[in-house]
Symmetry: C2
Subunit: 99 residues, 2 copies
């Protein structure tokens, strides 16, 4: 089932609401990089995000190396071939609340 994709105005609002995220993949995703003091801190953050992701049934694409975590949010079921949806806005807000 396709999820409604954010239109241009909604995407602009998402970025305005979450200024630490930047648009990527030709507008189909948002990304934020987090830098922690060490792996233990980074992992603690990732563990909290993992719980959010399961609770929201919406999961990040993410990369971790030691104290750095790069989080990318996109909705594979949005639009024709993936894009941003309200699910990404919700998860971004939840992640921002942790950081």
């Amino acid at each position: 089932m396709a999820v409604p994709e954010l239109d241009a105005q909604e995407t602009e609002q998402l970025l305005a609401d979450h200024p630490d995220w930047s648009l990527g993949r030709e507008g189909k995703a948002i990304t934020r990089t987090f830098q922690f003091g060490d792996f233990s801190e980074a992992w603690g953050f990732m563990s909290r995000v993992a719980l959010l992701a399961e609770a929201q049934d919406h999961h990040p694409e993410w990369f971790n190396v030691y104290a750095k975590v790069e989080v990318t949010l996109t909705t594979h079921d949005a639009g024709e071939s993936g894009g941003l949806s309200a699910r990404d806005a919700k998860l971004a807000a939840s992640i921002d609340a942790l950081a």
Copy 2:
């Protein structure tokens, strides 16, 4: 402090011992991709690897999207500008033992 880099013969032995890993980054890293049934399983695996990494004080570079985990092992302190070391062989063996 530089960590001794594996020589060609040692690298060959590493790949022979751990056939599920493939050489990448011009011989400076090894990678293995794991596919699980869902995020919960993938996260359980990642949590176990995180504990190994802290215990061995050697951490993976890894990417996760839902049920897939791509693990890359390299030693930033090895050789002139990073490469494979005995630390990668040890962590690969520990990860293989989980999988």
